[in-house]
Each structure stands twice: as structure tokens, then as C-alpha cells.
Amino acid sequence: MKSNLIILMLILNGLHAVSQNGTINGTISDAETGEFLIGANIYVTTIREGTTTNNYGFYSLTIRDRDSIGIQFSFLGYQTQIKKVLLTKNLRLNIELQPMSQSMDEVVVTAEARDKNVSQTQMGVLDIPPAKIKELPVILGEPDVLKVLQLLPGVQAGNEGTTGYFVRGGNADQNLILLDEAIIHNPNHLVGLVSAFNSRAINNVSLVKGGFPAQYGGRLSSILDISMREGNNKKFSGEGGIGLVSSQLTFEGPIKKDESSFIISGRRTYFDYLIKPFLSKKIKTNYVFYDLNAKVNYKLGENDRIFLSGFYGKDDAFYSQDNIEYNLLIDNKAATLRWNHLFGSKLFSNTSLIYSGFNQDITALQDNAFSSVLSGIEDLCAKYDLEYYPNQKHKIKLGGQYFHHTFRSTGDSQVFANTGQTPQVQSDSIPVKRFNEIALFVNDEVLLTDKFSFNAGIRVPGFFNGPTNYFRVEPRLSFRYGINPTTSVKAAYTMMNQFLHLIPSAAAAIPTDIWIPSSQKTKPQNSQQYAIGLFKNFDDNTFESSLELYYKTMDDQILFREGNQFIRSLDVDNLLVYGKGWSYGAEFFLKKSMGPLTGWAAYTLSWTNQKFPDLNFGFKFPFRHDRRHDLSLVANYELSKKWSLSGTFVISSGSAYTVPVGRTAVINGGTIFEGNYYIYEERNNARLNPFHRLNLAATYKKPRTLFGKKYDSEWVFGIYNVYSRQNPYFIYFDINPATEKPRARQVSLLPIIPSVSYNFKF
């Protein structure tokens, strides 16, 4: 540790020695709304070097030559701007980029920095533009960031229709989902059919699945970093959408022009009304979900800005038929207070105070049987990050994070006496577990030569839970070697640790999110990932392609031991067994980002296995969500200025599940045991049928006028599951009452579903 600090100081001293040149810094924002653009490109054409804006729209670039230089500013969906400046001293350059509009079709615009995917050091990063989220056809016409995510290479979908996803063989709990830095533990509405993220309130979505920079940690498999929009600081505007499942309304505008703004966006479903005609009169049901995003920001001065954002989402469902009653209550909430401060022209800081909370209460009654699962998490977090841009060769990030977690989880299952009084689990009777987590990190992105760059970092997370403490050291390394301007080879090594565990169930497909912290017995999850990739662009950046190979180990994994219910005791550790997993595979990505036809093809070939001494007779077995082949095709075609067509097609191998291979009769002298039992030879020995589905959508855009005011309107017509493929959701076994033979029953969800939605913006 001491030697690491000495090395860091030497590096910083060395950096200072070459930092006497001119520096350009500033922000890049949307010219129409004033919102900062994340990941916008700054490219100095005269020296062929550049950088990108950080998560707050800020950039800093130190140039050795104090002479006239040309700088190109660009971002997807915006007109590129070129500036020529005389760099005689440090310069603040705040740039506003003009969005592309329908009238600008003739202008040739470069959508992204030339060969950005080839030239950046980091690998395993996928950015999803919000515009793309809205374009693609999804279930029930509801734009959904998590559904789009499932179409990317290395990201595999869970059950049909759900928003759960699995990255490079990792379980769903190994994905960290951040909304304005706040952890969202359950990103779902409608039991997973729709994500909790309102696409109209999103500014940027970035998925990191490998080569993790040191500022990210806490999960093994992926980081999904979602930034909320800040609101238009130039004029008041609004937009809305009326869809099949829900409607939404967004308002935004300046509080003080060019200095502060707000955005508020709400969404509410009417799924409960839609489902009623399809249900018998004996059934009483109600399903309500809604969410609210809000954000304000204020410019305190040239060097300071504060942001306050909040999110609240809730699902409240009730179902009753005959002697069955089912209640579901899920809420997610998050709030982030951030302060951006600029020390001079090269040092940027961000201080954040974050709260996030998640509660789940699922209760089921059948006859006089009662079952309930309650789970609650509250996180308080303080973060301080520094970004230092000493020269064009280095970009240093360092900082610290502190989390205070509070967990409440319990379950109950019983048969109760028929006294007319239904059992209840009192939330104040649930034992509370509190623990703390810290992390310190430093990361340097180094451009050694035009061809060779690397990203080196170290993260030191710690976990404190009474007498149980864990410290870990996580090295992070990424390399890039540019073969030529359009081709590069990259490699990465990362180690990750995770102190939280989601108890997985091999049997149940319904949401029962029971999170537990590490303990003396349940060690922190640990992974090491090795990846190598070839990145190549063709046809003047029209086509981007990549091939990434990875190998990932996952230690200290948990599963329920055989025969256990998902919850039965507060002492959950005793119900678990421990083992390891490993995953390897190849991911191929081909993307066309220019021209009237855009889209991508993503193919993943992968293997994921697990080995637990106490399961499957100690032999290895496939991970439940192991899918050998996974192909996604995505296309969007601009038919005319008014009409565009889009489609997605996915096909993947079936996921694994456990099937008995035989039956045997147990006699044992005429006892309760007497009967037929199942013979299992191997866990996850069978595969669900292959999954495939085609979705199509057509969008009609037209500017309209109402009461003399112009507004943009848009009709979106969609068909989900065009040929009504009965994709498997799960399989169960029972005895056919007619033949008394055992049979396997496949349950499928979501047949062909047409949808129409209307969106407007003023």
C-alpha cells in the first residue's frame, strides 16, 4: 500500500513537470436546452488528440503547442462544430452543439467521433443513446432502456418479457444499476415486464461489462450508469406520451435562464383497466404502477454547480379469486444532491450525497395457507471524486465512497386457524441489519504514444459489519494498441468484489428479491475477468465492428441448498451452499451508425458453469441462465422525413433447468414416504426450447399546430412477437389426471401484442 502511494506521488510530480502548456476547458451542452452532453468528443485536429466530456459535461485538454489550433466538437445526433483558437493562455471554452433536426437532413453530420470505439482505451463499454431507446419496438409500445440493453453483445435476457439481464455469465444481482449515482435495487415495474426508468427523463445510458475503471465497483459483472436529464435552461417545454400500458408527461424549463433549470416527469399505468376484459368476473384485480423523476440544477458561479435529483417508483397490485388472494407492494426511491466544483482549469471535483431505498412486500393467501416475503434496503452514501487533467497524455480520477446500508428481510409461511383473522408480518418486528462499506480508488488513463495507451487503476473496498470486516484490493488494467487509425487491439484485466448477495432460487420465477450482506460465513463475491478484443471500423466509420473474448471467474457464489424454500429462517446463512462459477465466450458486434439504415448485429457465444461441493454430487453444472448462442439483430430505416421503420429480432439457445430422468417407487414398509420419487442425475441437465421473437414498429412524425402554437407529434405503431412465438417462461411437472402419467408443462407469456402510442412535444 505504501509503495503504491509513493508511485502515485512520483507520477503526479512527473505530470506537474510537463504541465506548463496551455489548457482548454469548459463544458459542452445542447444549444436548445442547455443540458450538458455526456461523452461528447473534443478532438484537436492539428495534433490528432482529443478527449471526451465527463458525466457532468466537463472537459479539460492541455495542449503542448501554444499556437493556433483547430478543435472539433461532436456528439451523436448533433451537428459537429469546429473552432479555431489561438492558445496563448489557458482558455475556457463552453460549447453549445445544435441538435440535428428534420430540416437538417441534407447536412452531412458525423454522428460520433471518428473511430471513437477504436481509439478509446477502455473496452467492454456500450453507450445507448436515449434516441435509440425510443426508436426500437418493445413490449406494449413502452420505450424501455433495459429491453434495449438486452440486445447488446454479452448481455443475455432472463425470462420472456422481463427486464432482468445477465452479463458475461454473472447473476442478475451482479449488475450495479445507478440512476444519477443512486443504486436502484429493483429496476422493474409490472413484475419485470417494464423497466422503472422513464426514457423521457434519461440523458445518457452507459453499460460497462469489462475493463472496469477504478471508480466503479461493488458488483461483479456490470455497471449500468444512467444519468437523468437536467431540464431545458433556455425555454419552457413539455412532452407527453399516451401508450397502451401507461401515459407520461414531462415538463422542463429554466428557473433562471441559462443558470438553472428543472425537469419533472411522471408516468402512470392503466394496465388494471386493460386487463379486466380478459378476466372472469370471479377475479378481482388491480395493478397500479407509477413513477416520478424530478431534477433541478443551479449554477452558483463559473466554477460551481449544484444538482438535486429524485426518483420514486411504486407498484401496487392486488389479485383475488375464490379463496386466493395475492398482494404485491414494491417501491423504489432515490435522491442525489451533487456539487460540481472546478479548481482552476485542470481539476474537477464532484461531491455527492445519495439516498436510495427499496421495499418489497409480497403476501399470498390460499385457503388458510399464508405466505409472505418482506424485503427492504436503505442506502446512505457520500462520495467525493476528483478528476485531474494534467496534460493531454493523462486523465486521472481519484476519490472515495462511503455507504451505510440498512437491510430488513424476512419471510413467513404458515397455515392459520380459521378465526377470520389473517396473519400478518409486522414490519417493525423484522430484525434490522446495518453495515458500512467504503472504497478508495485512483485511476490514470495514459496515452503513451499515438498507438499505445493504457488505463491503470486500483480500488480498495472495505466492508464493516460488527466483528466481520473485509478489505480487498482490486487492480484494474486496460491496454490499447492501435494497428492503424481504424483498427486496434485491446486487452483488460479486472478484479471486482461484491459485499451484497441476492438469494437466487432455482425454482421460483416470481420476484422474491431477498438481499443479504456478507457475513462470517457468506464471504464477499469475487471475480477476475480477462478480456481481449479486436476493434475495426470500415467504410469511413459507417460500420463499426468488434470481437471480444473474455474469461471470468466468480468465487464465493451462493445458492440455496437442495430442498430449501426461498425463505424459512432469519438465519439465512444456514440455508445456503457456497461454490464458484466461471464463464467464457466470444462477443461479436457489427454496427451501422450512418445513413438511412442504421442498426446492429450482436452475437454472443458463451459457456457458464458452476461448481458447488454440496450440489449436483459435487460435479460442475451449467449456470441457470447459460445460453450457448445469442443473436440480436436491430434495424432502423428512415423511410422518409415522416416515416421510419424499426425492427428487432432475437434468437438464443434455451436456458438450463433441472429435469428428473426417472422415477422410482419408495416402499419402506407402508409409510408416509411411500410413493414415487424423482431420480435426478444432473442439475440443469435440460434446456428450455430456443427463444426467438420478432418485433416491428413504424413511427410517423409530423409537426402540428394547436391554438397557434407549433408542436411535434409522433404516432408509434408496434407489433411485439409478430409471429406469436410461444417462448418458454418456465416448465413445471405434474400428473396428467386423465392418464396418470407425469407430464411436463411449459408456460409461455406474451403472444403477439399490437400496440399504438402517441407522443407529443412542445
Binding site: F278, E562, F673
Partner: protein, 302 residues
Amino acid sequence: MKKLYVIVLLITAFCSCTKDISFDGNTLNGKEQLFIEGILYPEETAKIYVSLSVPFFNEKVLPQEIFARNAQVILSTDTWSEQLQKDSIFDKFRCRWVPFFGGANIIAYGKTYDLKVDYLGDSYTASTTIDQPKVNLSGVEYVENFYDVYGGHDGVIITYTDAVGSGNYYRFQMDRMMDNTRRHAHVLDVIQNNCTQPGEMFQTTDLGRVIFSDASNDGASVAQNIEVSFEYKQGDSTTVYLQSLDKRSAAFFRDLDEQLQSILNPFVEPTFLHSTIEGALGVFGSAVRSDPYGFMYPQDNP
């Protein structure tokens, strides 16, 4: 619970579709395996049940249909060896013949027994030593209502003092005479028990599903709630025992219990059966019975 499972799906979609599916032969038609059940009791002769497993989707599995009649079963100690003979007993509760291989020698406490089953050229062996302590019951009481992980039940509370020394495993046994008007409290299958007349009494044995150990109460006085398997009426007379099982047999019966739960409840993890017999499925072990304890039901079952 399966209903609940499906209800969630109803909430989540306009329409869900369920259909029967088939599997290719390689996945499910596991090879025929020998299944052996043999628990030896001191002062009794040996009864070893030897049967063959069937592919999962075969029709109902009856003991007489799957009996491995060509097997050779040899039981031996260090002083004697005998080949067990084919025999059968008529189960009047389920109205069916149950074949087994029976021995003539009396099983003795303190001995080690070796089992060898030859079938189609292969041999399967196992061994057990009967050295577990005999633990007597100190009381049996009726309980009308209690809750455990399986739900709410009526039954009995047995009390005993665990033998000193850890690693003891117990299960409950209740013998009683009854007629076909008493039904099984857990109708796992439709039981055709019409082969006897009402009032014609026959003996049944009820073995408890729960295996309880002395892991946290070594040498202590124990009161254990027991779920009973058959219906009863006030005045029904029974004989109750506590069986002391060897460790490996206890683990096997625990597997059976957990698998039974996983078959009935989709929220329970699948449970594999861990055999105690090399190369074959099943259990070979021993149990030591307590002295009998008389118990009479004070009321009809609720």
C-alpha cells in the same frame, strides 16, 4: 402453491399459454437403475426391497411392476451369510402386493451387516453396523394444532431424553390397527383401498417424515411435535416407538422428505437422492426401536 405460481403470471400478462412439451429420449430416458431399500431392525428378520427405476414419463409405478425379481440378494456378517428369498406381503391399505427379499436369520444389535445385490452381472454392495443407542419414549400426548415448516397439523407430541454423545438421529413410528374407513391424511395419490370390508381391521405402520437430530440438544430432554399420517377416531389405540437411525440412512430419509416437499411446492429447490449404496440408488442401514409406548387418541381428528 402451484396455483399461486400461475396467478403471478396472470397478473403479468393479458394471456399466458400452457402446453405439454416433450423431451428427446437422451434427456429424460435415464438408464434403468437398481433401487434398493433395506433398513435392518434388531430382533427381526431382514426385508430388502429391490426394484428398478423407470423413465420419468412412464405410467404409474407399482411395486409389483418394477420388482427386480432376477436379483440375487445376499446378507452376511462375519459369522454367517444367507441368500434372501423372494417374498411378498399384501398391503391392505393400498390393496396391492409388495414384493421383497426376505431373510431367515434374526438381526442382532452390535453386529456389522454386509449387503450384496447381484443383478444382470453387476454387484452392488453396502454395509451397516447396528450400534446406535436405544432411546425410550417418556411420553406421548395428543396435540390438536401445531405449526411447523410444512404448515399446520394435528398429531402427537413425543418426549424422550437424547442419548449422550452427538450424532444421534431419530424418527417416529406409530403402529395401529384400522379399517378402510380411515384414510391417509396426505392423499399424494388416489389410493384404492376397497379390498377390505368396513370393520375389517388390518395393521398399518406410520413412519414420521421428519428426521430429527441432536445437533443442538445433545443429552437433553426433547419434546417433538409429530404429524401423523392416518385419520383417527377417539379411542383408537396405537403403539408408538422412537427409531434411532444410523447417520447415512437418516440423511437419505431427509432427502426423501425434502424431495417430497419440492415435488409438491414449486418454491422448494429440487432435491437429489444421495444413495448409500455403491453403484445403485437407495438406502441400506439400520434402526433401533425404542420400547413400545401405548397411546390412545382422545378425540377424532379435526
